[in-house]
């Protein structure tokens, strides 16, 4: 889902304009739960776009409220504040990105092919969703402690699902190695995104695959990944 909240407008020049995804006022036949779900969806989209434009520290609740087309009262009924809303947006996007990876992973049978498919799908989606990429891999570092714990959960889930390589050590070492590889991937993405190279992320697939399979499958397998060249995600 591409982020399609309103594009930037000078904060001082904003006025209320109903957006296509905004519910009409009055009787619309939706339950209170459906209205809340719609508002949450718009707020997450708005937070993502705002972070993509201003970064975590530059975003104000007013930016999100304006983009989402909700009142401040509604915002604070749904979220405790900016950080709470950011955490919700982060959780939403991490779930989407994880599904993207896991679905691609499951299209293959050999581990190295599964990992390559998952990585190709992830980097392709991030390149198409630069605001979400910035939120999940760059700006998340600046968020509060609760978001960091959510991030750790995400790392553990992705590590357990993707790093099932043959010869992977058991026990605590295996866990550390799996989490280490995912953390390393996240750090690489963070640096690339922070440097403004989000659109070029798919070109990193061969290098990242080489780095990730080298410890487990050896030099020949790692070299084969480099030799594959760039495969642009579609």
């Amino acid at each position: 889902m591409a982020v399609s909240a309103p594009t930037a407008a000078p904060r001082s020049a904003r006025r209320r304009v109903r957006r296509p995804d905004q519910l009409t006022g009055g009787r619309h036949g939706l339950t209170a739960e459906e209205v809340r779900a719609s508002q949450r969806e718009r707020i997450v989209t708005a937070m993502t776009a705002a972070v993509g434009e201003h970064g975590y520290h530059g975003v104000r609740v007013a930016d999100v409220v304006w983009r989402a087309g909700v009142s401040r009262k509604t915002f604070y009924e749904l979220y405790a504040g900016k950080d709470d809303c950011f955490r919700a947006a982060y959780g939403t996007w991490i779930d989407r990105l994880s599904k993207t990876m896991f679905d691609a992973f499951d299209t293959q049978t050999e581990w190295v092919d599964q990992l390559r498919a998952a990585l190709t799908a992830l980097l392709g989606r991030l390149a198409r969703e630069p605001a979400a990429a910035r939120l999940c891999f760059s700006e998340v570092i600046a968020a509060g402690g609760d978001t960091q714990l959510r991030r750790d959960q995400a790392i553990a889930i992705v590590a357990a699902r993707l790093f099932t390589a043959p010869g992977m050590p058991d026990g605590a070492l295996g866990e550390t190695m799996r989490a280490g590889r995912v953390s390393e991937l996240g750090e690489t993405l963070r640096r690339e995104i922070a440097a403004g190279r989000t659109e070029q992320l798919p070109t990193l697939v061969p290098e990242l695959m080489c780095a990730m399979v080298l410890p487990f499958l050896g030099m020949d397998a790692a070299q084969r990944e480099l030799d594959r060249g760039t495969v642009l995600a579609r």
Partner: protein, 153 residues
């Protein structure tokens, strides 16, 4: 080993932590692999013995501004410099991005111990962290063998 109070407290502590790391790296007997093992063990021991300062420095990065994030990157970059000799020693040098990635991975390991209030257990994680750091250069089996051969671990 602080810088005389001219820099923010977090930066001073990061400087001290890196100085302890570099000292352990330089004092290690043997080659680069043992120096990395010593550096990680030295860093983790330094941080575990200073829980209040480590908490303040790491947790301070969460929710903090661009200065704290820049400090985080500088700290990682200095550790990454210690990894670079590994490229010349590897039978098949991994892509250059591996060193940055490992540096970030080590930082994340420290951060997770802080956030989960397990900083006291950090020194116990040093052998596994060493294997993670060395594996791209010497292979997982080679890294495990090296770490297992060190009596004090």
């Amino acid at each position: 080993m602080t810088d005389g109070g001219a820099s923010p407290p977090g930066q001073s502590f990061a400087d001290e932590a890196f100085a302890a790391t570099a000292d352990a790296y330089a004092r290690a007997p043997g080659g680069w692999e043992l120096a990395i093992q010593s550096a990680i063990a030295g860093l983790f021991d330094f941080l575990a013995r200073r829980p209040a300062q480590t908490n303040a420095c790491i947790v301070g990065d969460c929710g903090a501004g661009p200065d704290a994030l820049a400090r985080r990157d500088r700290t990682i970059d200095r550790f990454v410099a210690l990894l670079r000799p590994g490229f010349a020693r590897a039978a098949m040098p991994p892509p250059p991005i591996v060193a940055d990635a490992i540096g970030g991975g080590i930082y994340e390991l420290v951060r997770s111990h802080v956030l989960e209030r397990r900083l006291g257990e950090l020194p116990e994680a040093a052998p596994d962290a060493t294997i993670v750091a060395l594996a791209p250069f010497v292979g997982t089996d080679g890294a495990i063998e090296l770490v297992s051969s060190i009596p004090e671990i």
